[in-house]
């Protein structure tokens, strides 16, 4: 089934208060990011370096992955390779089974969401507890994250309070985030103490030393990994970077871009297992090496999953992450998903105003908005345009081909927008009129300015 972005986002937007709150909350995070970035003297230079390191590494991935594996093995770490999500889940299942594990604590990992690990393990009778607070809330509500850094951003505190009261018997009607967080802490403590294995995602893997780096704020990754004797780290193969010193660049950028913090509370470097412990790293492809083949689009693999492009995106902020129908929503999701299934996700590259704000904030300089534009062309070329688009675009194409006709239509547009009543604009055939007001028609700009517009 194709993802129907417009209809899904309509549901989100129709709750006016919630969508307004969502918009404001994310813009607040974006503003914090700006302040944090301005405190760094050479931010643009750092972006260049980050982009260069990632592009270099991705264009030499085989070499660095082999180096990483060799060094990790020297540290006593077990390395596994998974071609896809299924194989990843099977590997995790096998490791857990061989140790007779009944309960696994997991810290945040978008990769395991991508692989749908939880349902797989649950089918095998293994209890999985997500230990990041946002993820735990979502797990208890049987939902998926709506943001890669702030997974529960779509949920209101009243709903959290209700959920906890129902599941944990906490005080009804107490909506205080501090109280609710403490209740979750108490419940999760029990889970940590009774778990017998831990799984985390990976932010960076260092080829030179074979260590993996995990960045978190809550302390849940470190608690889980250290309380239990069996630790598993799942990483997408693009997470490898050449040297330890490159962490200097990325640890300065990740949290600043994500939440406006100078660094996450915990930046943990797991290199060797604890005495009598076991450490496993699973390197997962799941379509990434295919993506690498694409000439123009391969740079999307540089992404460090900071979420900044989501926080800044006017469409994401007003539509909510679930409208994208994929684990990774927002602008980055909209350029990753067409690689997976062009038809299914053909709506997503159109969920953008192409304002370019995503590319401006991206710490690794992925030209997201250009890629969105190029995906639209690919979608057109492959004849998988979403229906509403193909009709309108067919007409628009005809008009744009002929400058005179364009001028005429433009003129009519100006006049009609002025005089048409709202019900013509906000009708069920015009998806983009939903929850949007049309711009006021300004006085005419001079002709020279208008000519320039066509040059871009």
């Amino acid at each position: 089934m194709e993802v129907d972005f417009k209809n899904k986002s309509r549901d989100f937007v129709s709750d006016v208060q919630r969508s307004k709150w969502h918009d404001t909350a994310l813009w607040f995070v974006r503003s914090k990011r700006d302040v944090a970035v301005m405190n760094v003297d050479n931010w643009e230079e750092l972006r260049n370096q980050a982009s260069n390191i990632k592009e270099h590494c991705i264009s030499n991935l085989d070499k660095y992955l082999i180096e990483f594996e060799a060094n990790a093995k020297k540290n006593g770490v077990y390395i596994h390779w998974a071609i896809d999500g299924d194989e990843h889940n099977e590997i995790v299942g096998k490791i857990l089974k061989s140790h007779n594990i009944k309960k696994l604590v997991k810290s945040k990992s978008m990769l395991t969401e991508e692989c749908e690990l939880n349902p797989y393990l649950e089918k095998q009778g293994i209890e999985v507890i997500d230990t990041d607070l946002g993820e735990r809330i979502i797990q208890m509500r049987n939902e998926t994250p709506s943001h890669i850094v702030l997974p529960a951003i779509h949920i209101k505190k009243e709903e959290v309070s209700e959920l906890f009261a129902e599941k944990w018997n906490t005080e009804k009607g107490n909506n205080d985030p501090e109280y609710l967080t403490y209740q979750a802490r108490m419940s999760l403590r029990k889970d940590f103490l009774s778990a017998d294995a831990a799984l985390t995602g990976v932010n960076f893997a260092i080829a030179e030393t074979g260590e993996v780096v995990v960045c978190t704020n809550e302390g849940n990754a470190d608690l889980g990994v250290n309380i239990t004797n069996l630790q598993i780290h799942s990483m997408g193969l693009e997470k490898v970077i050449p040297k330890r010193k490159h962490l200097g660049v990325f640890t300065r950028m990740l949290a600043r871009s994500a939440t406006g913090q100078a660094i996450t509370v915990y930046t943990s470097h797991f290199k060797k297992p604890k005495l009598q412990g076991e450490m496993h790293v699973i390197i997962v492809d799941n379509g990434r090496s295919e993506r690498l083949k694409k000439d123009y689009f391969w740079t999307s693999l540089k992404c460090i999953r900071c979420g900044a492009c989501m926080n800044t995106c006017p469409i994401y902020r007003r539509s909510g992450g679930h409208s994208y129908g994929y684990t990774i929503p927002g602008p980055i999701g909209a350029i990753l998903t067409p690689n997976i299934d062009l038809k299914k996700y053909s709506d997503l590259p159109f969920a953008s105003t192409l304002c370019g704000s995503c590319s401006d904030v991206c710490p690794v300089k992925i030209d997201i908005h250009n890629q969105l534009y190029k995906w639209r062309q690919e979608i057109g070329k492959n004849n998988v345009l979403p229906k509403t688009k193909s009709v309108a675009m067919g007409i628009a194409g005809k008009i744009l081909e002929k400058p005179k006709l364009f001028k005429f239509v433009f003129k009519i547009g100006r006049i009609t927008l002025k005089i048409l009543p709202d019900f013509i604009i906000y009708n069920k055939w015009n998806n983009w009129g939903k929850a949007r007001t049309m711009p006021e028609i300004k006085k005419r700009k001079n002709d020279k300015q208008r000519k320039n517009i066509g040059k871009y």
């Binding site: 071609i83 302390g219 330890r244 200097g248 290199k271 604890k274």
Partner: protein
């Protein structure tokens, strides 16, 4: 063909014509007002700090700051505070509940307030995370400017597990409201020594 071979093969096919050269970058380390910057950074991450000049003082500070800490782990032998007898405990779950942990930080980072802990060297790796309150003692002369220098300083050091800790644990997962004290410590106090007392630090000296 194994999955590893398939993946590597596919990568080889994909990366032809994509060879981006890695730039060699030299960093100029920030050396100015590091102590002031570090303290400001600590404030911004909700960590508290105090300056001390000798170890006897620390005992007083700790006792007045965290009175009645029944279950405590003190990993610094110069500080005369007795805690749980670690030799009698063989499983980290036995520490729980843990009121207070006292550990040493190897050095600190001025730009963000991070403190490097060689966590793998602690008697148990859970010590900095399981406690309600965490005290980290650092040498006030051992502060680097930024993360570039921090990684230079820890380069080549053989740790099994190392962590930059920056304040008490936090979350904003409920409606973006910052709550200090998520799953890890709920309070953190940094004790900064005026005198350079770590003669044999485990880390490289910066020229």
């Amino acid at each position: 063909m194994t999955s590893k071979e398939k993946i590597l093969e596919n990568i080889k096919l994909s990366t032809v014509n994509k060879n981006v050269i890695l730039d060699d970058v030299e960093y100029l380390y920030d050396k100015k007002d590091l102590s002031v910057k570090f303290k400001n950074a600590l404030k911004s991450v909700s960590a508290e700090f105090l300056i001390f000049s000798n170890y006897d003082e620390t005992v007083e500070i700790i006792n007045s700051y965290f009175p009645n800490q029944k279950r405590c782990i003190n990993t610094i032998k110069e500080i005369n505070i007795s805690g749980l007898d670690l030799s009698k405990i063989n499983n980290p779950t036995d520490f729980h509940p843990l009121d207070l942990s006292i550990i040493k930080g190897d050095f600190a980072v001025a730009e963000n307030g991070a403190i490097w802990i060689n966590t793998g060297d602690l008697p148990d790796r859970t010590i900095p995370f399981l406690c309600e309150n965490l005290i980290i003692i650092i040498d006030g002369h051992n502060i680097v400017g930024d993360m570039h220098e921090a990684y230079h300083k820890t380069d080549g050091i053989d740790y099994s597990y190392g962590t930059f800790i920056t304040g008490p644990s936090k979350t904003a997962d409920i409606e973006q409201t910052l709550v200090v004290g998520a799953q890890g410590p709920r309070k953190m106090l940094v004790l900064i020594s005026e005198n350079s007392f770590y003669k044999n630090t485990n880390t490289k000296q910066i020229p």
